[in-house]
Amino acid sequence: MTDILFQDMATVAELVRTKAVSPVELTKRALNRIEKLDSQTNAFIRVMSEEALHQAKILESEAAAGEVRGPLHGIPIAIKDIFETKGHVTTAGSKVFEHWIPDKDATVVSMLKQAGAVIVGKTNMHEFAMGATNENPHYGATRNPWNVQKIPGGSSGGSAAAVASGMCFGALGTDTAGSVRLPAAFCGLVGLKPTYGVVSRYGCVPFSWSLDHIGPMTRNVKDSIVMMQSLGGYDPKDQASSRRSIDFAFELPLQDLRGKVVGVCREYFFDHLDNEVRIWMDKSISLLESLGAEVREISIAGIEKALQSFKLIAQSEVLTFHGPIFKRHAEMYGEDIRFRFNFAQTISAVEYLNAQKYRSVFIERLLHVMKSIDVLVAPTNSLPPYTIGSIPPEETMNNIFNLGKTPFANFVGFPALSVPCGILTGNLPTGIQFIGKPFSDKQLLRIGECFEHAITWMPTDREKSLFQN
């Protein structure tokens, strides 16, 4: 029988509701698993045992009185250590913030707590979310539970490793260039980058304000829906927050994809792919066709310029925040971050503004192209994960572009979902990415769920697939 820690959230929520399992028992199980396995993954910067058990006891009393807040009631969840937690150090994976104790919770943290989630700890990450390997010079490298010689991907690699190894049921990550989706793909998880503005970033240490997103990382699509039920909504404290709400309530799953048009753009998205990744993508696209979707080849002009503009925007905005600190305390930053900032200092204001101007033009163009399709599919990762320690620091800035096809969706702000679609040599999961039109997050999740249910070649007992290497 599958360990309860590997069950889906809806099943566990029902067990909590019917008092078959208690929030305290669940939390203790999660904390025990962290204690047993985290020496192998280094997924956590801080485990919050005391606070988690305190919260679980409150939730247990509520459940005993028949007051269940919702499907996250009593469910152990982890959060990336980039989110402010009142009274608890928030490092953002850095030495710069190693002593910072915030005076408030980030909006998303408040929302999760309100929904009854038990926060078991704060996860390891690439320093300041600026990299895809999760090799952190201050808190150590995080290891991929599917193959501990490999990176889990980043920058939300600790969140991915924690969820994949059953230390929690879901986690929060941030995604500025693919930092939710890439580690989700490498760790066999579902990762959602919602439409820009759907989830508030207030109380999250910024990387690039116009590219930053927050999203859930879970073991299946339905769990992502559960988390999104608590995370979406307008927040006046985030200037980019949208007033347009999305209803993430459950609906009956799609039985097939008849009537849906799936776009495939070969240029860029299928360039420089690992051969096995390509094989799994071809197989996945055939599966979408067999589910009744019409697969249509499309062309999108100007992707290379879009990605160049992305780099200019990301590096300019990151230096706006870090510039004054870096000027005074450069020694506190890791070597790879220093390479990044040295590049950022060469970008002019004109280049930044031209990149933002091109962004609006490109979004209009993409909206026009996507009128004829429901969703665009692409690989999440281009390559298998690197071996830990194999990439020199000066390469870090380019890692996300070499490893993934993810920054595209950040540049346009469209929602993007990564779903596991195959296993590469070395017991390494790979992912397919579904990119939707703005605010079509719910449809994206439903299409992803239909694909996930139809796929027959992924391991059914994932617990047995972990820690084998």
Partner: protein
Amino acid sequence: MTLGGSCMGLEQYVQQLLESEEEFLLEIEPAFAFSWDLIGEPHD
């Protein structure tokens, strides 16, 4: 260097870290805050 011990906001913490009179601003001028309001929110 050890700061902290007491709870504080991000701006205040960075301000202390900088040990400078120069004001550290976290908020972005709304005109530069990329949002669907600025670029026009798309409709289905």
